[in-house]
Symmetry: C2
Subunit: 142 residues, 2 copies
DNA sequence: GTAAGCCTTGACGTCGGCGTCAGGGAAAGG
DNA sequence: CCTTTCCCTGACGCCGACGTCAAGGCTTAC
């Protein structure tokens, strides 16, 4: 199988496969004419890489999985190094999710505070001595 | 106040301020010798930018806040355009957090499955006919 | 006077994971 | 034979928010 076919079967592009090869992740045999040649086991490696990439793993983090498969194991995560990557990734995800939730909370509070301030200004404007000048900037939305 | 002092007071670098200026976000007056000159209001603008950056806002997303302050409002989020950015950011955060939690769940399941497979292999090895060959790759950890 | 420490502009480097183009050879079908 | 479609290598582009270096000018302290 040549590079175009493998790429298509994995839902990616030849450029991507050449890139992986340049990183030493997915080396290819060569046909007499210099064309890269792949087999079904390469497809399996590639799918492993792509799955992890979809999870947000760096290329380097997929390396233990690929090496594990190439060592003859049925699954890329049959090796301790792969499990270690899983665990590290879980920690990273938990930390990141935690940070994002903290930011979400802060932004939510800022929004609430700003809306409250705006509404209080509007209320003041309706009551005392006629409307006060309001922000004239932007805000096509709503 | 010159660029170095402003940068220090905002906990950033002169390079960053020049970058903001190049993006039209924080223009500077110039002294006779060509040096950039800033005042306290610039510090306020800069702190607004930095706060939002810390929240993960793109530089472009901070623009409405900066313009709002420059228009004379007491807070950067006193303008509708700023509130719209807050709301968009909340949606983005919710979406991102949701995706990350989904990934976290998937990775967690993969890890659990892989560990189960490993333990079953170990159990098999202890019982039937002597230890089977085990993965020899990686895994310094533990 | 001279060294240190600020400032200026301009331009290139960084990081990851490729996309895209240029300038060729090879293979397959009519 | 010709065209199309694949393949090759090499190299530059991209994105965002700066870092870093070069080469020079201003100021200030000694």
């Amino acid at each position: 199988m040549r590079i175009g076919e493998l790429a298509a079967r994995a839902g990616t592009t030849p450029r991507t496969l050449r890139y992986y090869e340049s990183r030493g992740l997915l080396p290819a045999r060569r046909a007499g004419n210099g064309y890269r040649t792949y087999d079904e086991s390469d497809l399996k490696l590639l799918r492993q890489i792509r799955t992890l990439q979809d999870f947000g793993f760096d290329l380097e983090e997929t390396r233990p999985f690929v090496e594990c498969l190439r060592a003859g194991h049925p699954e890329g995560d049959s090796c301790p190094a792969s499990l270690a990557v899983y665990r590290r990734k879980l920690e990273e995800l938990d930390a990141l999710i935690g940070e994002l939730r903290a930011v979400r909370a802060k932004v939510g509070r800022q929004l609430a505070r700003a809306e409250r301030a705006r509404d209080e200004l509007a209320a003041d404007a309706r009551v005392p001595g006629g409307p006060e000048p309001v922000c004239e900037l932007g805000g096509e939305l709503r």
